[in-house]
């Protein structure tokens, strides 16, 4: 077994950390307060080239392996949670299908500028009545001439209100349920494609999230991304695995930052004549956090390694996501208790970590659905014994 990152990966981590420290962290509070997409920061960050993390070098990407990309997401999570959401959407889901299945013309038109940050992409799974339940997708794609006509509404779309293109999950045959779903590329300016209401979120400010409307939107055949209609869900497993581990490591980063702030506070804040860090009940919070945090990170990087090794790891990715994001809720809660009443003041950072942490519960599949799937898988195991 090997529990070390390579020297190269460690170096990569320091490079990303440096970029996050210099470009993003000084603006965290301002981004949170403005709750608007930080276009200037986006352009500066895009110029560093990280938006092509997982794409081939011929399109301007860096073709990073899975573990290296997870190091990037973890370090990015130390900055603004909202900005990280916009960036990860662009790198992972927003460009995944065009990068994997798009024609050369689509890649040149959409992927290359997206890697440069000049075009913003997103993916549209969720609707008002379906999210984790993809089988409930009601957006339709109907065959017409040499293409497809899309109708429906998508909700909770990160980068939606500012996107230049999106990958839309729609059903081509409602009678086939999950087997009738496909992905289509829709670009801004296509007649019938508009942006609806914007959602005002509790946290993750700085990423803009909203509704996208498809009203008789015609796209040509080449915009069907994948090997023919009906293959959509089969194609999502690989990317959802990465999304879940990415979410797990974002949660680890939020937890770590919240507790690092709390540590500093506990060492400085005095009560009854001594710093509160000297009280056992406060110390126990740090000891306990350390254990849960390490466990969460190990699960996440193990899952990342399994993806990289092309091992079957759908459940490990769910476990990592579920465990790390629950750990994160506990960490921001304990950190806010250490801050006491000050955690309730907008002037202190704890309230922001507390709000931002909540989103990790829902992105990449909500826990109630994941736990149901995991429980069913556990019950199917021979003898019920884990390895």
């Amino acid at each position: 077994m090997e529990f070390r990152f390579t020297e190269e990966q460690e170096f990569f981590r320091t490079a990303v950390r440096d970029a996050v420290d210099k470009l993003i962290r000084p603006r965290i509070a301002a981004i949170d307060e403005a709750d608007d997409f930080p276009r200037e920061l986006w352009n500066e960050f895009a110029a560093l080239g990280y938006l092509g993390l997982r794409h081939p070098e011929i399109y301007g990407g860096m073709d990073a392996d899975v573990v290296t990309s997870m190091i990037f997401y973890e370090e990015l999570g130390r900055g603004s949670c909202g900005f990280a959401m916009s960036v990860t959407m662009q790198i992972l889901m927003g460009t995944y299908f065009v990068g994997r299945f798009g024609s050369e013309a689509i890649k040149q038109r959409v992927l290359v500028p997206a890697i440069r940050g000049e075009k913003i992409g997103t993916i549209c799974f969720t609707e008002d009545q379906s999210g984790s339940d993809l089988g409930g997708t009601r957006t339709t794609a109907t065959r017409k001439d040499d293409g497809w006509v899309l109708n429906g509404r998508k909700m909770w779309i990160t980068n939606g209100p500012i996107c230049d293109f999106c990958t839309v999950l729609a059903t081509t045959d409602a009678s086939r349920g999950m087997d009738g779903l496909s992905f289509f590329l829709v670009e801004a300016g296509t007649p019938g494609f508009t942006s609806g209401q914007q959602i005002h979120k509790l946290g993750s400010h700085g990423s803009v999230t909203g509704e996208l409307i498809f009203d008789n939107v015609f796209v040509p055949d080449e915009n069907l991304l994948g090997d023919g209609p009906g293959n959509g869900v089969k194609l999502t497993t690989a990317i959802l695995n990465e999304v879940r581990v990415m979410t797990a490591l974002s949660a680890c980063a939020i937890a770590n930052e919240a507790m690092a702030d709390a540590r500093k506070y506990a060492l400085e804040r005095a009560a009854f004549g001594k710093p509160i860090a000297q009280y056992q009940l406060i110390r126990s919070k740090f000891g306990s956090h350390w254990a849960w945090y390490e466990a969460a990170r190990l699960l996440a990087y193990k899952a990342a390694w399994m993806i990289q090794e092309k091992l079957e790891c759908q459940y490990e990715c769910m476990l990592a996501k579920m465990f790390a994001t629950e750990m994160c809720q506990s960490a921001v809660d304990e950190a806010s208790r250490i801050y006491g009443g000050n955690s309730f003041a907008m002037e202190y950072p704890q309230q922001r970590w507390f709000r931002d942490a909540r989103f990790t519960l829902f992105g990449g599949g909500c826990h109630e659905v994941l736990l149901n799937t995991l429980g069913a898988a556990y019950l199917r195991r021979g003898g019920g014994r884990l390895p």
Binding site: T14, A19, K22, A47, L48, Y50, A270
Partner: protein, 261 residues
């Protein structure tokens, strides 16, 4: 003349790394290291010279073991293609003079027209290796430059130093060694293609024997005797009196502590 610039770099503990006293003269340092802040400024200043005079040859050198390699990777990520690790782990216990001897031995062969380094290392703040290298090479040395102007045609370097609110301008014939102060340049954030290049780069090593220095490496003639922890800060005391009584109480306590005359 075509310029040849050598940049001297060192890896030092990250400002956020935990540092504890392990034993007399020894520290226990968390394994979080970065390229020294002032050395990054020197790298950026060297890149600026090359940007103005594209035929300039740039190289970065670092003496020591694995950490020297990390510092050099940073130099590659920032834009320097030619880098060399000098010596090995045996140098990690060397003092400033020992490190300077190794660097100078390599620079004698490299024959730089300009040597740039940070004005001091981010860990021990000795500010010694740069001047010592200049001494060993027998070339002029000027420290803490906040501006640098190289004139290859005239074969001179001119630099500004901040002195008591004034700016002092110095000029030296090349070759010369200049150390970098904050303000000379703002280190860039490396772009990802350079980061990838740095990650994959094979950092060449020059063994001490090749430099004519017989192992063991130059030892520490300067010995660390002990580290003393800084005095612990008294805890913050909150004044419980309501306003305006707390102001009177604050003044009384400040007078008592001798903080107010």
């Amino acid at each position: 003349m075509t310029l040849k610039i050598a940049v001297l770099v060192k890896q030092v503990p990250d400002l956020e790394a935990t540092v504890e006293i392990a034993a007399e003269g020894q520290l226990r340092i968390e394994d979080r290291y970065v390229c020294s802040f002032f050395d990054e400024i020197a790298i950026e200043a060297a890149l600026a010279v090359k940007a103005a005079a594209p035929d300039t040859e740039l190289a970065a050198f670092s003496a020591g073991g694995r950490r020297a390699v990390d510092a050099l990777r940073r130099a590659v990520a920032m834009g320097i293609d030619q880098v060399e690790q000098l010596g090995d782990e045996s140098l990690d216990g060397a003092d400033s003079l020992g490190v300077a001897e190794v660097l100078a031995a390599r620079l004698k062969a490299f024959e730089p027209s300009l040597v740039l380094a940070g004005k001091q290392a981010g860990d021990d703040d000795m500010a010694a290796v740069g001047p010592m290298v200049a001494g060993a090479l027998g070339i002029p040395h000027a420290s803490a430059a906040i501006a640098l102007r190289v004139d290859p045609a005239a074969g001179t370097v001119e630099l500004d130093r901040a002195v008591e609110g004034e700016v002092l301008t110095l000029r030296a014939p090349l070759p010369a060694l200049v150390t970098a102060e904050k303000g000379l340049a703002v280190p860039r954030i490396p772009v990802v293609m350079r980061v990838m290049k740095a990650m994959k780069a094979k950092i060449p090593n020059v063994p001490l024997t090749q430099l004519g220095l017989a192992p063991p490496a130059p030892g520490a003639r300067l010995r660390r005797v002990r580290y003393a922890p800084p005095p612990s800060r008294p805890p913050v005391r909150m004044l419980s009196e309501p306003f305006p009584a707390n102001v009177d109480e604050l003044v009384r306590r400040l007078l008592e502590a001798g903080a107010l005359a």
